[in-house]
């Protein structure tokens, strides 16, 4: 079905379209950007009847068939549930942002990233090809990076974005490893077809690696301990982003991955045990952390981590009931948490603070918002008759029927849920109750979108709670192959008086008690920070710092900005190469038969050469040095004359003269030589220079023992006159055979001449200097 493919690609095309609209025009039509998520939501909703009957929608287009990468999309119940969440919460967030960030100079950029993210997320949950799943997975990480660093002028935003990208990027690499390994072992990159090789996932030499990579990917993305710490940092993003990416959808990608592969690992016990352990620990850890946060978004971040922990924990129990509970809880959590986030966003937008110790009594100014917050808090705490109550019931039902240690599991679940009640109340009720602190000032009435959107989500929590059968048909029917074997549990508010109801009551009452007696404040937050150095965050950052320091040190050593350091490194290495070559393979011998005899005039020239070099190097006067350099050039002329190169001699003579004249003219204006370096440095440089020169001389002598290849020379000797009609072979080479080279050389010289002229004639004004 081609429409399906276009639907998946639509967000990316839409992002390009938005880009073309431009910032100025976009300001006027911001609301129109919400058309896309709403339309997609409508599309997925319209497919619901078909899909829940078990008809799977597919679309297959070859992309890179040789690598097994295909645009292979598949919409089953699980994908549909996630797609509805992504587009549904997406619609609300898109609408909400139009007011929340109204007039922001980078509004368009925000919408583009948000649209790309939505497309990536839909692609992720509908991909049947594990390699395209990986691509979409990485796209979500990247769009998340840009959205967290949206306020890119703040150092803390940038840092949080980098931490988030590093952690989720690490997970992305693990996912790639998993994809390739699973693909190689099963011989297919189609997730559905992988099911036909259960032995690979159950008991194979590589199964433990598969589990390791899959869990690394899922746990980093879904913020499980010890990779959870990027999520509280990601709260630096504008609140709509926190709502959408870091609570409702992106962080659930890891959960999605686990659910998607649950059928594959169905027969593998360690898969479920690890999930149980990690999820259980994460949920407790996060739940306790919520007590010590004073920033509303900080509390929500930890309660999100806790909720993700609960879902992983439920998958880990591994029964049909627990997986149903997990799936129901995904919906429950998305609804109430998104609502709470949006409530927080509006509070922040109107009151200018998210600090719980400074908020209170907002119900008068923000009554509709207070109602939304209240309902969301009820759902978060699992009060009847919200869907949160049903979700919590299912959790307890799963833990009580778990195959291993139901008492312990239930205890952990109850404790976590008590803190969830507390967190919900603190965020959804506390800012509105009591009396308003003086410091808050007048609160303006928000635009209706800013309270309507959280209200919509909260209302859904309530409606689904009252009519659970609507949810039931949507996502408990055949949602994973694991569930087909067992009859799905029936969702209802009222199950009669039983142990589960008692546990629910205990949870709610304890949560309320904590809410009334535990007041979060900055002192407590500071106290908990004392053991911060033990947290995975600090340890990871220290590791990153070590890495940073090491590279800084290496860069300072090798690239310290001093010219001589660079030259020295190159020379010392070259000297070592020469030296090692000569020591390993000494072939220095003097074959005396070809040696030209020495004339007295040659001896004199060589002697002059040596003297002029020594003068140039050791003189304390600039003019002497330049004169020495000139003399050296003239002695070179003589050598050229002696050995049959009159052209060279003439060129060297004229060029040398010009250089000396130019040099003298310029040096006249420069300061006198200063003794800048100390004796140690001079001795060190002397040793480097001398050893390099020595080894070079040895190498030259060694090379001169070889017979040179003269075929090129023979060609020119033969053809200089016949082809080019010239009798001076050197000249013929330059102006005829290699004429283009010479032409380019002339242009190089012209450019240099223009440069020289410009530098000499340039007169800077004072402020330009």
């Amino acid at each position: 079905m081609t429409l399906f493919l276009y639907v998946i690609l639509a967000p990316f095309l839409f992002a390009i379209l938005l880009f073309g609209i431009g910032q100025q025009n976009f300001k006027r039509i911001t609301l129109l950007a919400s058309i896309l998520p709403i339309a997609l939501f409508g599309y997925f909703l319209s497919l619901t009847p078909t899909v829940i009957n078990g008809d799977v929608l597919t679309s297959f287009t070859e992309w890179v068939p040789s690598l097994g990468i295909n645009l292979d999309f598949r919409l089953d119940n699980l994908a549909l549930l996630f797609s509805l969440l992504i587009t549904g919460v997406g619609s609300i967030v898109f609408l909400y942002t139009s007011q929340y960030l109204k007039g922001h100079p980078k509004l368009l950029r925000f919408y583009i990233f948000l649209t790309v993210f939505m497309g990536a997320m839909i692609g992720l949950v509908t991909s049947n090809n594990i390699l395209t799943l990986f691509i979409f997975w990485e796209l979500t990480s990247i769009s998340s990076f840009f959205l967290i660093s949206f306020n890119n002028t703040e150092a803390s935003s940038r840092k949080s974005a980098i931490i988030a990208l590093t952690i989720t990027g690490l997970g992305g690499l693990a996912l790639l490893a998993f994809a390739v390994l699973a693909g190689e072992l099963t011989g297919t990159y189609s997730i559905a077809e992988m099911l036909q090789s259960p032995e690979v996932f159950a008991n194979n030499a590589y199964t433990s690696y598969l589990i390791l990579f899959l869990f690394l990917a899922a746990f980093t993305k879904s913020a499980q301990f010890p990779f959870h710490f990027w999520l509280p940092g990601a709260m630096k993003a504008p609140t709509p982003v926190s709502t959408y990416l870091h609570s409702a959808t992106m962080v659930k990608a890891g959960i999605y991955l686990l659910l998607r592969f649950t059928p594959h690992f169905n027969g593998n016990e360690s898969f479920f045990i690890i999930l149980l352990f990690v999820g259980g620990f994460t949920m407790l850890y996060a739940a306790i952390n919520t007590l010590f946060k004073t920033d509303l978004k900080g509390i929500l971040a930890y309660s999100t981590i806790g909720a993700l922990g609960i879902i992983v924990f439920l998958i880990g129990i591994g029964t049909a009931a627990s997986i149903t509970a997990a799936i129901v809880f995904i919906v429950v959590h998305a609804l109430y948490k998104a609502s709470l986030f949006l409530v927080t966003g509006t509070i922040d937008h109107q009151a200018g603070t998210r600090d719980i110790t400074k908020l209170g009594g907002l119900r008068k100014a923000l009554l509709p918002l207070a109602i939304a917050g209240f309902i969301a808090a009820l759902s978060s705490g699992g009060f009847p008759p919200t869907i949160g109550f049903i979700g919590k019931d299912l959790i307890y039902e799963s833990t009580l029927n778990a195959s291993i240690n139901p008492t312990l599991l239930t205890t952990i679940a109850v404790i976590t849920n008590i803190f969830m009640v507390f967190a919900g109340l603190i965020v959804g009720v506390k800012p509105f109750s009591g009396s308003k602190p003086e410091s808050l000032g007048a609160i303006k009435k928000p635009h209706f979108i800013l309270w309507l959107m959280p209200m919509l989500l909260a209302a859904l929590s309530l409606i689904f709670g009252l009519f659970p059968q609507w949810v039931e048909v949507l996502f408990t029917h055949q949602i994973t192959p694991l569930l087909t074997s067992v009859e799905s549990p029936h969702l209802a508010i009222w199950h009669g008086f039983n142990l589960i109801l008692l546990l629910s009551a205990i949870t709610i009452i304890s949560g309320i008690i904590i809410y009334f007696f535990w007041k979060p404040n900055h002192r407590k937050e500071q106290q908990i920070k004392r053991i911060e150095y033990l947290s995975p965050r600090s340890i990871s950052l220290q590791f990153a710092q070590l890495f940073h320091n090491t590279s800084y040190f290496l860069t300072r050593v090798f690239q310290n900005g001093y010219l001589r350091r660079y030259i020295m490194i190159i020379l010392v290495l070259l000297t070592l190469v020469f030296g090692i070559h000569i020591f390993i393979n000494p072939r220095i011998f003097l074959s005396l038969k070809d040696i030209k005899a020495l004339n007295w005039n040659e001896v004199v020239i060589l002697f002059m050469m040596l003297i002029s070099i020594l003068f140039t190097v050791f003189t304390k006067s600039r003019l002497t040095a330049i004169a020495g350099m000139g003399v050296l050039g003239y002695t070179m002329c003589f050598i050229f004359v002696f050995y049959g190169a009159p052209d060279l001699a003439m060129t060297q003579f004229s060029i040398d003269t010009l250089t000396v004249i130019l040099f003298v003219l310029v040096v006249y204006r420069l300061p006198k030589y200063l003794k800048l370096s100390n004796p140690t440095n001079r001795i060190r440089d002397g040793i480097i220079a001398t050893s390099f020169g020595t080894f070079l001389a040895f190498t030259i002598i060694e090379i001169m023992n070889e017979t040179p290849v003269k075929s090129t020379t023979a060609f020119y000797a033969e053809n200089a006159y016949l082809l080019a009609k010239g009798k001076n072979v050197v000249n013929v080479i330059l102006v005829d055979f290699r004429g283009f080279d010479t032409m380019i050389e002339v242009s190089v010289l012209s450019i240099a001449a223009i440069g020289v002229f410009a530098l000499l004639k340039l007169h800077l004004k004072k402020h330009e200097k």
Binding site: R564, K596, T616, G644, T713, V748, K769
Partner: protein, 117 residues
Amino acid sequence: MEILLAIMTGVLYAAGIYLILRRSLVKLIIGIVILGNGVNLLIFLMGGLVKERPPLIPEDGKMLEGVFADPVPQALILTAIVISFGLQSFAIVLIKRAYKVLKTDDIDTLNKTDDIT
């Protein structure tokens, strides 16, 4: 003679490198010039030394015959000499300009962009 010239090439290299490692801009350029001479001599040596037989085709001949100096290294060196003149003259004028603006010819003070205001 070849051996003496080989040693002389080594001396030229050593002198050039030593000067390049100094902190004075003037010495740096003199070092480059000397190193350039060393390189030319090296290429010249590699072609083989032939005394007093320049690669000129005699008036009545059509090609080089017998013993003659190798024209290929000579062509290379000729190019090198001319190009190095372009480099040297530009560098010389540049240090003059640099000194005029920055009042220094110490390379070590020129390694930060921030100092130039």
